[in-house]
């Protein structure tokens, strides 16, 4: 539907007075991919998104879209569109007028803009609500309208600022499937800011993990999850044990651990907690150096040879499951 193009951040920096919110980050977003900016609150992911959108001035560096430096262009001239966290629908306008707002600003005449707005509403399956006001819609419906409003300008990149955080858990999972479907259908890039690693894993082709104003690790979702480069990424993505050994820190997938009788594994540990999770059993053991290791065992394997609290067991893992970490 539009010319797909790459987006590149070149040592992009945002300073607020003395504090640095985004510290010279560089990243290449491939065209037509779903990328997630992932990180804890205050890590600079939202500022990055807002700089790409043009709602925050760039202190240093640049945003390059399709080979064009857009760092100092107004938002609407960049070829990006933003979907806001609380959707920011105009409460005094109907759904159709909300969607057609940017066309009206551009001076498109009424029949034409209504026609295009209706097309967009059809895309997000909201045609029957065209005449309603935003406050007569549910959260999920409002989000669809916000999507339609952002997409009507035919952006090359759609920016989503924590789009699912206002929804209840059930709806969140449905809407994220919807987002993914739309991205595939439209073939444009989506850049999605979130602090939920499960959301990022479910959606993203590429994940960019941010912490303390910098990018910790960026790459395909599977690579970021299964081969974390730093202790922060390993902990934030979850599912890993970060273990300090004499030869350095390593990350261990907790589902790649197995247990053995005492002295039968690479490490000995004292079982400190057993948590039954249905398909799995999470077993936490205290090992030397006051470190905790969680092993995620299948319920079958666990109940074949149950262990008890306080029991000393051996912990085992294969070499492929361990990743050395750089601090």
């Amino acid at each position: 539907m539009s010319i797909v193009s790459d987006l590149e951040l070149v040592s992009l920096t945002k300073r607020y007075g003395q504090t640095v919110a985004v510290d010279a980050i560089s990243h290449h977003f491939r065209a037509g991919t779903y990328a997630c900016l992932l990180g804890p609150s205050g890590c600079g992911k939202s500022s990055t998104l807002r700089m790409i959108a043009g709602h925050e001035s760039v202190s240093d560096g640049s945003v390059v879209l399709a080979g064009r430096d857009v760092s100092h262009l107004p938002p609407a001239k960049r070829g990006t569109a933003m979907m806001f966290q609380n959707y920011a629908l105009f409460p005094h306008l109907t759904v159709r007028d909300n969607v057609a707002f940017s066309l009206r600003m551009a001076g498109v005449d009424k029949p034409e803009r209504h026609k295009r707005a209706d097309e967009m509403l059809e895309l997000v399956e909201m045609t029957q609500y065209a005449a309603r006001k935003p406050d007569q819609l549910s959260g999920g419906q409002q989000q669809r309208v916000a999507l339609a409003r952002a997409l009507i300008t035919r952006p090359q990149v759609l920016l989503l600022d924590e789009p699912l955080s206002a929804l209840d858990p059930f709806l969140r999972i449905r809407m994220r499937a919807e987002l993914k479907r739309l991205q595939r259908e439209l073939g444009i890039s989506f850049i999605h800011v979130t602090h939920g690693q499960d959301e990022a894993l479910a959606l993203a082709d590429d994940i960019i993990v941010m912490n303390n104003a910098r990018i910790e690790q960026a790459g395909p979702a599977r690579e970021v999850f299964s081969a974390p480069r730093t202790a922060f990424v390993a902990r934030f993505m979850g599912g890993h044990n970060v273990l300090s050994l004499p030869q350095g820190q390593i990350a261990l997938r907790s589902d790649a651990m197995s247990i053995a009788p005492a002295q039968g594994g690479r490490l000995d540990g004292k079982v400190s907690n057993i948590e039954y999770q249905g398909t799995h059993v999470a077993l936490t053991a205290q090992v030397a150096g006051d470190q905790e290791i969680t092993a995620l065992l299948s319920d079958e394997a666990f109940f074949a040879a149950p262990t008890e609290l306080g029991q000393v067991i051996g912990l085992n893992w294969s070499d492929q499951a361990a990743h050395p970490l750089s601090e």
Partner: protein
């Protein structure tokens, strides 16, 4: 734990009694306000309506039910001129307070970034209210008078040769005083509306390519409508009911309906004053009803 016994008939009856009691309680809670309104709003108006049908001679008034006062009121051309004047004052004052009030509110709400400054500047706006209306009005007189500050400054600058006569005791001075007195009544509700506008809406508008003016026109003004409407009701009712400002600032040379009533009262012509008051009240109510048809403010309160 023993199972809970089913609700007995007795419990059910008790619950019903509580429900009825709650009704009674509600009425009791509403009654103080109802009594106040009845005593201080409804009763006086009823009294005015009754007296407006009474008769009067030069030296006495007598109870009656006649339409003489209304006939005289609607038969006199003075009434129409005075009503026209009242509307004129209301309209011009409304337009000016709206422009000023909207601008001030916009500045406070969108240009001033920190809440501390917003509150501080807002309090500055209320400083004139530390003195009485009359004193604020009268303080204009030495400023605007024939040999007042305004005229002498303009003459010393060489802008004018003769003192401007229309500065004081004219429609100009009346409207100036009205604007001075009532702009804040426009600022407050509009400011309130503006503070309730989600800032991300302005960003969303910008994201959709709206210029600053387009955002103002298509987002801010529509969302301020309730505030504008409340301010409008304040200003129009205050101006239409006023008599003292017109008297002071026009040097008794201009008239509005309020002055008509006050003159009648000073001549002890209560029935005639009542009739005028009833007509004025109805006019103001009609104006407000028309305004409320334009914007539904109940939703916003």
């Amino acid at each position: 734990m023993p199972p809970r016994p089913p609700l007995s008939i007795f419990t059910k009856m008790k619950r019903q009694a509580v429900l009825q009691n709650r009704n009674v309680l509600g009425w009791l809670q509403a009654s103080p306000l109802a009594v106040v309104l009845l005593g201080f709003l409804v009763a006086p108006i009823v009294m005015i309506v009754i007296v407006s049908f009474w008769g009067a001679t030069e030296y006495s008034i007598y109870p009656a039910f006649q339409f003489d006062n209304y006939e005289f009121l609607f038969g006199s051309s003075v009434t129409y001129t005075v009503f026209f004047n009242t509307f004129k004052y209301a309209l011009i004052t409304w337009a000016m307070t709206l422009v000023l009030g909207f601008t001030v509110a916009y500045f406070l709400a969108f240009e001033v970034r920190s809440l501390k400054w917003q509150i501080g500047l807002f309090l500055v706006c209320t400083i004139p209210f530390w003195t009485s209306n009359i004193i604020r009005m009268i303080s204009w007189i030495p400023f605007l008078g024939r040999n007042g500050l305004a005229n002498s400054t303009l003459i010393s600058w060489g802008v004018i040769d003769e003192p401007l006569e229309w500065l004081l005791f004219s429609d100009f001075s009346v409207i100036l005083a009205f604007v001075h007195l009532y702009t804040l009544f426009m600022v407050v509700p509009i400011f309130n509306s503006m503070m309730r506008i989600d800032r991300s809406l302005l960003e969303a508008a910008r994201d959709c390519g709206a210029s600053g003016f387009q955002t103002l026109r298509n987002v801010i003004i529509p969302l301020c409508k309730p505030g504008i409407m409340i301010g409008t009701i304040f200003v129009t009712t205050l101006v239409m009911g006023d008599f003292i400002t017109v008297r002071f600032m026009s040097g008794s040379q201009r008239a509005n309906v309020g002055r008509l009533i006050s003159n009648d009262i000073s001549l002890l012509q209560y029935p005639s004053a009542s009739a005028t008051a009833v007509v004025l009240l109805c006019t103001v109510l009609i104006v407000i009803a028309l305004l409320l048809r334009l914007v539904d403010i109940r939703k916003e309160l």
